[in-house]
Amino acid sequence: MCGIAGIVNVADRHAPPSAELLTSMVSAIRYRGPDEYGLYRDMRAGLVHARLSLIDLATGQQPLANEDGTLWIVFNGEIFNYVELRQELVACGHRFRTHSDTEVIVHAYEEWGNDCFPKFNGQWALALWDSSAHRLILSRDRIGVRPLYVREHGGRVWFASEAKAIFADPSVPREIDPGGLDQTFTYWTSLAPASLFRGIEELRPGSVRVYSADGTMRETVYWRPSYPVPPGEYPLTLEEATEALSEKLELATRLRVLRADVPVGSYLSGGLDSSLTAWMGRKAKEGIFQTYSIRFEDAEYDETEFQRAMAATIDSSHQELVVRRSDIARVFPDVIRHTERPILRTAPAPLYLLSRLVRDSGIKAVLTGEGADEMLAGYDIFRESEIRQFWSRQPGSTMRPALFSRLYPYLARSPQQAKGMALEFWKQGLDRAGKPGFSHDPRWRTTAQVKRFFTEGLQAEIAARPPEDVLDGLPAEFSRWDSLAQAQYLEVVTLLSGYLISSQGDRMLMAHSVEGRFPFLDADVMEFCNGLPASYKLAGLNEKFILKRVASGHIPDAIIRRQKQPYRAPDAISFVEPGAPAYVAELLSESALRDAGIFDAGAARGLYMKCVARANGAAGNGVYSNADNMSLVGILSTQLVHHHFIRAAGDSSPAPRIEYTTLVDRVPIQQLSGTA
């Protein structure tokens, strides 16, 4: 796991990229790979790499080249099937110098060109530089587990694992992109290729982009989530499908535990997915198995009982971290420095703290259960959508919406007023049943309310742009999928890709140099899950039906049977209770809000004061509506993004010293004086 960055002159009128600049770029993301550093440079390209050594510790350094030194790579991630691909390539006549997966990519590209990427089962963001053809190839894994940002301007291309490495070049303008911001406050993420920053693109998950010497750029999407609709009955019985899923998951987990030359641990949330993942991880290898859990001081969010039960079941060496509201507020600025985008909940913050515990305990890679809810329909949004579909067929029915009480048991216990109003909420847009986006309408609508706080100027600017809606870019076959598959697709391309495995995943893990490995996002597992009939995934309202059968007998029944608890952390309250850190009031001051110019200062202050009053014993003490929680966290995190990345423009700290283990500099000495 690593950090990558580089500058390539696609037009040859530029001087070679400066080594100092490349060093600043890699230094900006050095936490992604603090073990070793590498630099390659020629007259047109510079590639840098920060390495977190997990595979082939001795000879896996990067940048790395093919046999004749014409094709260079910097690579962040893992190709889990590299052993099998290597055998295939050796049979084709390729000779290998190392035992790394990185070298397999180079030879696979030589052998198959862009067709190599669909053969990879893994998680990657990479850049290949063909120094003889002057061609730059950028690629990302199917789901976008590993990040990659690109800027193209004036015949030059910058790329990096994180935007901050591109901003290390002081010539790059720093501006918030109104379109990316608008998307973030609907989908919880900008939609690649848009990003939160103007002029910087996020490479689409599942795509390859090629910049050629003639100045052209071609992008190919080699993979998108797809839910095949075979004619006739699904060939496997539930029993057979359970068996097949179990085998595939175990293989995916084994690959993720064994294809590492360091020990791999596991997160334990207390839920079904991570419990099963940890159980399979434990089974994959002899010896000590490390597990890690977040506990909350607020009982509402705590799942200790289930975490401990699972740790005891697999006899792991278990470590816990207790998170308080004050911890969340304290680390939040660092969290946003890593997410590089606004977030609407604080849930990433505890994971930022947990990855530090993992690193301090000497573990560099962890398994998590991420992806199970998307692949096998675990989330409430899928069940909610099914109930709303069902209700929409008889909107006058009072029996049909009563099903919501099965989804949200608190409703059954709530006073009538809460129940009635909750139903009013879900009733909105019921007439849109069957239309794309119906499943996500309540969430998107709710999130979009935060935009009311935007300044008039920003609202006008957004309104003047062509809308960039996720529903505009749907695959042609989308309308042929069943309603569950449609909802799953939208969930994968928005929340999973851009938030859960990014803001709450990669960024929080890599902040402390820990790699996440996700068996449920294995290429074969995803393919298999997407081919399952809806009823195997969501049986009535029983979520992850087939997965519960896989887990049965391996993990405690109490975990399988428990009501699904979404992972949450204390939100607004963390920032407004007495003793909250001073930066909160500073960034939400009239002057800071006006300075950033994103939110209406009066409105944002009004919200902040309301939240403060509620924390200090006013009416409704400590209870915040969903809208207030999301708005406060969204506004504060946006202010932090502005503070870290926009306002910081012009800060030119000298490039820190980096000791390169790999240094290939092909720029002749006499050229050095002229580098830019």
Binding site: R452, K610, V623
Partner: protein
């Protein structure tokens, strides 16, 4: 309290607690839930406010959108409640 006075109070409460600004105008007949001005928890804030300010008590069966989903509906319903003899 007159119906106009109730309307004014409700507008003021919405402005202070949900909109936080003077620029946005909520129409008297605008659906509060439908337009996203107020979410389902927000409506509960509004109901508590009405019970306190207007000295009325709402029965569970009355807490439906028909009675609360716009400023006009709220003011009309509160008027009706105030006219009822106290139980």
């Amino acid at each position: 309290m007159t119906e106009d006075a109730i309307r004014t109070q409700v507008h003021e409460f919405i402005r202070k607690n949900f909109l936080f600004d003077d620029a946005t105008h909520v129409g008297d007949d605008q659906s509060l839930l439908g337009s996203g001005v107020v979410d389902s928890t927000g409506i509960l804030e509004l109901i508590s406010f009405l019970e306190e300010t207007c000295k009325v008590k709402f029965a569970d069966s009355e807490l439906v959108a028909d009675n609360f989903d716009s400023v006009n509906r709220i003011s009309a319903f509160v008027m009706k409640k105030q006219a009822q003899p106290k139980a």
